[in-house]
């Protein structure tokens, strides 16, 4: 802590509470001194502060002490009056305005950082003009009537030697009429020390003799000691320059060099000496004397018990006097005033003990008198006396608080005094490091006047910084408050200054509400003072004000654009936050050797393409020896890893713009910022687009001009409130070199340009290199090696429907086009779903049109296609594309399975005589199809019970489509082995002709194995192709059947087969069916052209199903004629058993004689083993069969009547049958009478084992014999 005397308050008190000297001078004196640019008082002022006057003083006590520091205050007599309130106010305002002009130039700089503020000391934080302001503020209260320290102690009468009759002038000067009113009113004591001074102007040499004469006259008239001569202006030329001009700090309006130009060093010395002498010889002794006199007088009247009581009694008597605050009740001669004068004189002579005791004495009196203003003034002085004498801190504070609150109680009149008191109090607290309390004192004296409040609040805010620890929140708050007050009284400069400091507090916080307010207002104010650049810079901070209300956002934006307009140019702002660019959404799409047919194909994941292209692009090893190595030779290493793109082909960037506001904003001219450097010397920039703050229109010209080595796309869009938009920007290089995408620029509402640089931003570049090599930095992903123009194949599949039914067969054309002049060759294509798409082997257009071309023509060409298929389709060698010619290649599409299918086509091609960097390219096409379910077929094949070569086929069809119905056209078996035939006429199978949605249908067919029994390995060619197809339509008899042997049906069937392929693919006992259907004609008359023409449904590897691993048939005559009169009839039968399984089968046949129905009920057909074909032999037989079938589960009555037969021959036979082979067993029955016999009374017991002679069987079972009717008739 500083010594109280050396604290700023101490210095202030020394200056402010010091003896006043009233100066009375003639106009000629003033004239003399005005030669120096100074008035008389001003000339003397610098010499009134004595730092070491060293005068011995003895006041009340016997103790002598020495005064060290002493100050005199000189005032012209005219100034000794209470200042006019209005004038004072204007003067204060002037001080502030002046200070504001001074700070104006600092406003452009960046706001101070909070750390800087904290590290600074007090004097650096608070502006220096505060002290000046405070001094002025205190000065407005000088010469008040309730205080005595402004009472003039002495009077200096000055007359020039040029004056006529100087002696009379002296008398005239102290004429009561000319004295200040305060002295005449009796507030101040007019009997004061007088000192006479004769001024002699040395430039005026003529009066020299006169002067000495006048002086001697003066001395004789006024006394020797009271008269002095001051000779000035010794310099004849008047151009003396002073090092460290003493007047400079007192008068700043005039240039310092002019001040005192006529005064030589001797003159100054003389003035100094004069003042020193005046103070030490006259004023101090005079005051000393007066203090002693007053003290004596007061001791006599007021001290001591008797006097106290008397005084009390006397005051009581005055109680009826009304409470008066006017103060006029006390004249200078009243006892109270005398005591006050004693106190103030003692204070000025630094005898604080005496001062305190006097003040204490008087304060009770004032209190009793309810003279509150006087009371408060005394309390104030007591507080200061306590402070400066370094006594009780508590007492001092108490007194100050008391004074302050008493002044406050007086209302408006006391407020000024309260302010001064508060300033002193605050200084006192500051001196004791109680900054927080000081701040609250400043806050108390804010008052209502905004300008005053602003200054006080600002001072309070600095106190909060100086508090340990700093209270930055309050600092900011008070600065903001102060700024608002400054703004109210149009002190914009100061308002900006305070807000600027406040920014340092709020800058790094997330208190966006406050932050937006501060930035917005400071921006507005900067605009008021015309610093639009800075205004814009500050306003930019509030643009991202998504948390504000909509109306606030509108105000922000409107004002912002107004200010931007005022600047009259287009600012380019790096990091403009409206709209916000989502960097995670950034996606780079470019084409190197991989080219994309469409947007959709570019977005497909790279790995899908890679796996697809594995077979067709040159392998990595060979590739390395080819182009990669060459590239590394040709190019500097640093470019080896950059991405490659081709001249004339655009690089696309997708990014997302988001509007954080609730109001819509228009964003225009969005384009990329790129650099293209020449390949040869990479240091030289061909064009640099990243000039940091180049402004406005000319910039735009550069980007759009034709001279540019690349062209940029521009996008305009409007973002609604909170909207996000994905925007695609492109850059197309037109020269070789290194292309770098640096950033993006856009125009906001046509008035401000936002720039965003992509530095160190993670990007999802769609490049396989970036995925393979992790060391690639994101900026590398935006760097491209531009190589010279290459042919680029464009391709599309025409008329590809996006929605079709499963099984739909379409004829499509793949159109390929190469726009460049250089040819491409060696085309290869790979399709991700060979099951769906099948390229035609040659280019010709279809002659008969689709779908007729698929139908069987008159000339049957049953050329078998080679079935070995590769997934890569190589175009014929002679296909080469160039110029405008386009290649139209037919494709077959068949929607194999329902669902959403992504079809990927990749076409590989090589370029001739071009760049060594890129030898080949691929064209990638991606289409997605939606395949709807249509007819679903399932086949069940069961062996015919009676014919080993024949099988029953049950076909179940369900229409799974939602709305469309289908007609069945044709059913075919694939291959030459199986012939198919109808069991019923077509009309009975399908009475309604078409299958409605959701309808199911079962129908039966018979297929026949056309191979010769026993010779399984040989292919039978005896079957006619026509036997493999059945037409399932009745109308349109002329319509031909579809040829399933030829492409494309056959090839699609192949792929279906391989798709459904199982391990036993080659199993001969499978049947493949193709069902061809078409959309029922009436079902959907609209959308005619997109209707499917035909649909093919393939069902492969249908196995012949049965529950037992064997099938057998009992062969023998169906009808016999026998003469029973001769003998019973023996009939030879033959049982053929076929092993249909893969295992070894052992079968034992047990024939049962006797009552067949008791032993085994006749198995009903279809009950156990599925479908049995009962061959129609005769009408009669059929009838029986029907009877049998209709009485299922009941013992047939006919059986009872039928005469029995007996099995002759062995009753039990056991045979072993090899897998998939057959054996014949002879059987014999004996019949005794004519009749119809059911030869079903036998059982087959079978055991199946994996190996021959295996002990354990995997399965076994017993089969009942099935009905086989034999009619024996009596022969004629």
């Amino acid at each position: 802590m500083v010594e109280p005397v050396n604290s700023s308050l101490g210095k202030m008190l020394l200056e402010e509470v010091s003896p006043v000297v009233m100066v009375l001078c003639t106009p000629l004196v003033e004239e003399t001194f005005l030669k120096n640019g100074l008035s008389f008082v001003e000339t003397l002022k610098p010499f009134c502060n004595f730092s070491n006057i060293d005068v011995p003083v003895r006041t009340s006590g016997d103790q002598l002490y020495r005064l060290k520091k002493f100050t005199l205050r000189l005032f012209n007599a005219a100034d000794i009056r209470q200042p006019n309130v209005e004038v004072a106010k204007q003067r204060l305002e002037h001080v502030i305005t002046q200070a504001g002009e001074k700070v104006f130039h600092d406003l452009e700089s960046d706001p101070p950082q909070i750390t800087d503020i904290l590290s600074n000391s007090e004097s650096e934080i608070a502006p220096t003009w505060f002290q000046y302001y405070n001094k002025e503020l205190i000065r407005t209260l000088s010469f008040s009537d309730h205080e005595a320290f402004d009472h003039p102690v002495a009077c200096l009468l000055v007359v020039s030697s040029k004056d006529e009759d100087p002696l009379n002038k002296f008398v005239d000067l102290f004429n009561t009429n000319r004295l200040p009113s305060l002295l005449n009113d009796g507030v101040m004591d007019p009997k004061i020390l007088k000192h006479f001074l004769l001024v002699h102007d040395n430039q005026d040499a003529t009066t020299e003799r006169l002067t000495s004469k006048v002086l001697s006259e003066m001395r004789s008239t006024f006394g020797n000691n009271e008269c002095n001569l001051l000779c000035t202006n010794s310099s004849k030329e008047g151009n003396v320059e002073h090092q460290a001009n003493p007047w400079a700090s007192f008068k700043s309006s005039v240039p310092a060099e002019k001040l005192g130009c006529a005064l030589t060093g001797d003159d100054i010395g003389e003035i100094k000496e004069l003042m020193q002498e005046f103070a030490s010889r006259h004023i101090i002794p005079y005051m000393e004397q007066k203090v002693r006199d007053l003290n004596q007088q007061i001791s006599a009247t007021r001290k001591g018990l008797r006097n106290q009581i008397k005084n009390l009694w006397w005051r009581k008597g005055k109680d009826d006097i009304p409470d008066s605050t006017k103060g006029s009740i006390y004249t200078f001669s009243s006892t109270e005033s005398q005591i006050r004068i004693l106190g103030d004189y003692a204070f000025m002579l630094h005898d604080y003990e005496l001062a305190l005791s006097s003040y204490r004495l008087i304060s009770t009196d004032y209190k009793l008198d309810k003279a509150w203003k006087h009371y408060a003034g005394v309390q104030e002085m007591m507080g200061l006396a306590y402070f400066i004498s370094d006594q009780s801190i508590k007492e001092a504070e108490y007194c100050m608080e008391n004074a302050s609150s008493t002044y406050m109680k007086l209302g408006k009149s006391g407020f000024q005094n309260a302010t001064r008191c508060g300033l002193w109090w605050a200084e006192m607290l500051k001196a004791r490091d109680q900054y927080k309390e000081a701040a609250s004192v400043y806050f108390r004296i804010c008052g209502e006047e905004p300008l005053h409040a602003a200054v006080m609040l600002e001072q309070a805010s600095y106190c909060f910084v100086l508090t340990k620890p700093a209270m930055l929140h309050k600092y900011g708050f008070h600065l903001v408050l102060s700024g608002d007050h400054y703004k109210i009284c149009d002190q914009v400069n100061h308002a900006i200054r305070t807000y600027r400091s406040a920014i340092s507090v709020y800058e790094s916080t997330t208190w966006s509400h406050i932050k937006d307010h501060v930035y917005f207002h400071i921006g507005q104010w900067y605009a008021i003072v015309g610093m639009n650049d800075v205004a814009v810079r500050n306003m930019l901070r509030v643009l991202d004000c998504g948390n504000q209300s909509k109306s606030t956002q509108e105000i922000f934006l409107r004002d912002f654009f107004d200010i931007v307009k005022k600047t009259g140019m287009k600012h380019e702002v790096v990091g403009l936050r409206l709209p916000i660019i989502s960097m995670s959404s950034l996606q780079v799409i470019y084409e190197d050797h991989r080219t994309y047919a469409s947007q959709a194909s570019a977005l497909v994941e790279e790995s899908i393409w890679q796996s697809l292209e594995d077979d067709i692009i040159p392998s990595l090893n060979s590739g390395k020896s080819n182009w990669l190595e060459l590239q590394s030779k040709l190019l500097p290493k640093k470019y080896k890893e950059s991405n490659v793109c081709v001249v004339g082909e655009s690089v696309k960037l997708d990014m997302e713009f988001r509007n954080p506001l609730l109001i819509s904003t228009s964003v225009t001219s969005v384009s990329l910022i790129c650099e293209l450097t020449e390949n040869s010397d990479d240091l030289k920039l061909v064009e640099k687009e990243t000039s940091s703050l180049s402004l406005g229109t000319e910039h735009n010209q550069v980007t759009t001009s034709g001279f540019s080595s690349f062209t940029l796309s521009e996008v305009d869009f409007t973002l609604g409130g909170g909207e996000k938009k994905l925007v695609r920007l492109t850059v197309t290089p037109s020269e070789e070199g290194i292309l770098k995408i640096v950033g993006v620029r856009w125009e906001l509402s046509g008035s401000i340009v936002g720039v965003h640089y992509f530095q160190s931003v993670p990007t999802k570049a769609k490049t396989n290199k970036a995925k393979r090599k992790n060391k690639l930095t994101p900026t590398d992903a935006l760097k491209f090696l531009v190589i010279k123009s290459l042919p680029r194949l464009e391709g599309s599949v025409d008329h590809l429907p996006d929605k079709l039914y499963a099984g739909d067969l379409r004829y499509l054309v793949l159109e390929l086009k190469n726009n460049s002049e250089s040819p491409i060759k060696n085309l290869k294509m790979k399709i991700s779903h060979p099951r769906f798409v099948n390229p035609e082997s040659h280019e010709e257009e279809l002659t008969p049109g689709f779908p007729d071309c698929l139908k069987k023509g008159p000339e049957q060409n049953t050329v078998q296609r080679e079935t070995s298929r590769t997934s890569v389709f190589a175009f014929p060698k002679d296909v080469s594309l160039q110029g405008d010619r386009s290649l139209r290649w037919p494709l077959w599409l068949r929607a194999a399975i329902p669902g959403t299918i992504s079809l990927y086509f990749t076409i590989y091609y090589e370029m001739e005589n071009v760049s060594s960097i890129m030898k080949y390219r691929t064209l990638r096409m991606h289409y997605s199809l939606q395949v709807l379910p249509s007819l679903e077929t399932s086949f069940e094949i069961t062996p015919s019970p009676s014919r080993l070569q024949e099988f029953l086929v049950r076909m179940d069809i369900v229409n799974r489509a939602n709305s469309d119905s289908f007609e069945i056209h044709q059913l075919s078996t694939v291959g030459c082995r199986w012939g198919i035939s109808l069991l019923q006429p077509v009309d009975t199978i399908l009475p309604s002709k078409s299958i409605l949605p959701g309808q199911g249908l079962s129908c039966f067919f018979m297929i026949k194995d056309c191979r010769k029994p026993g010779t399984e390995e040989e292919k039978t060619t005896s079957i006619l192709p026509s036997q493999t197809d059945i037409k399932l339509i009745t109308q349109d008899d002329d319509e031909k059947l579809f040829d399933i042997v030829n492409s494309p049906l056959a090839s699609f069937h192949e792929s279906e087969r391989s798709c459904h392929g199982t391990s036993d693919q080659l199993s001969p006992n499978t049947v493949d069916f193709i069902l061809i259907s078409r959309l029922a004609k009436s079902s959907n008359p609209s959308a005619e052209q997109d209707l499917p023409k035909i649909l093919s449904h393939h069902s492969c590897h249908n196995r012949i199903r049965s529950s037992i691993p064997l099938s057998w048939s009992l062969d023998g005559p169906k009808t016999m004629y026998h003469d029973f009169s001769t003998s019973f009839c023996e009939i030879k039968l033959k049982m053929v058993i076929r092993n249909t399984s893969d295992g070894f089968l052992s079968v034992s046949i047990n024939t049962i004689d006797g009552l067949p129905d008791a032993a085994a009920p006749t198995p009903s057909s279809g009950n156990l083993s599925g479908w049995r074909y009962v061959p129609a032999i005769t009408e009669e037989m059929k009838l029986t069969s029907d009877v049998m079938g209709s009485r299922l589960g009941k013992p047939p009555p006919s059986m009872e009547s039928s005469p029995p037969f007996i099995w002759s021959g062995s009753s039990s036979t056991k045979v072993q049958i090899q897998p998939l082979s057959r054996t014949e067993i002879p059987l014999q029955i004996s019949v005794f009478s004519p009749g119809v016999y059911n030869l079903c009374s036998y059982t087959l017991t079978w055991e199946l084992s994996e190996h021959e002679n295996a002990l354990s069987s995997t399965s076994s079972g017993i089969c009942q014999g099935y009905p086989c009717y034999l009619t024996v008739l009596q022969s004629e």
Partner: protein
């Protein structure tokens, strides 16, 4: 009447601030809340001055502004609750119980697994329950 409640994170970042006045004085209340952080810091750093409450979360009256009284509460995780009321005659026990309920609501809100600690509380449930608590206290 409670005019404003706020939750401030341990880095003095606002997590939740809600005023309950009709007038457009959000900015003023923001400033008041922001300023009271200084007082909280002071209280926490000089526990001897506040004296009474070593282990208590309730910090008491922070400072009386012109028309308001500001109360504070500090949780164990150094999250500050600040309440501004326009009632000038308030009993400490009422404020205490208010803060206890408020704390419970806060704990519920941050226990949400989707809440990111240190980020603003956006839960609608939280603001509803705060509104309920606030409306149930009138202090008079």
């Amino acid at each position: 009447m409670i005019v404003c409640v706020a939750v401030v994170g341990h880095q003095n970042n606002p997590l939740y601030i809600q005023s309950f006045t009709e007038a457009e004085d959000a900015l003023k209340l923001h400033h008041i809340v922001h300023c009271s952080l200084d007082v909280i810091d002071e209280r926490v750093n000089n526990p001897s001055k506040s004296g009474t409450t070593m282990n208590e979360a309730f910090l008491g009256l922070l400072y009386p502004a012109l028309n308001y009284k500001v109360y504070g509460y500090l949780t164990n995780t150094k999250v500050k609750f600040i309440m501004v009321t326009s009632d000038l005659d308030v009993r400490d026990t009422d404020v205490r119980s208010f803060f206890r309920k408020f704390h419970a609501a806060y704990v519920d809100a941050v226990s949400n697994p989707f809440h990111v600690p240190g980020k603003k509380i956006t839960s609608r449930t939280f603001s509803e329950s705060v509104t309920n608590i606030v409306s149930s206290y009138s202090f008079n």
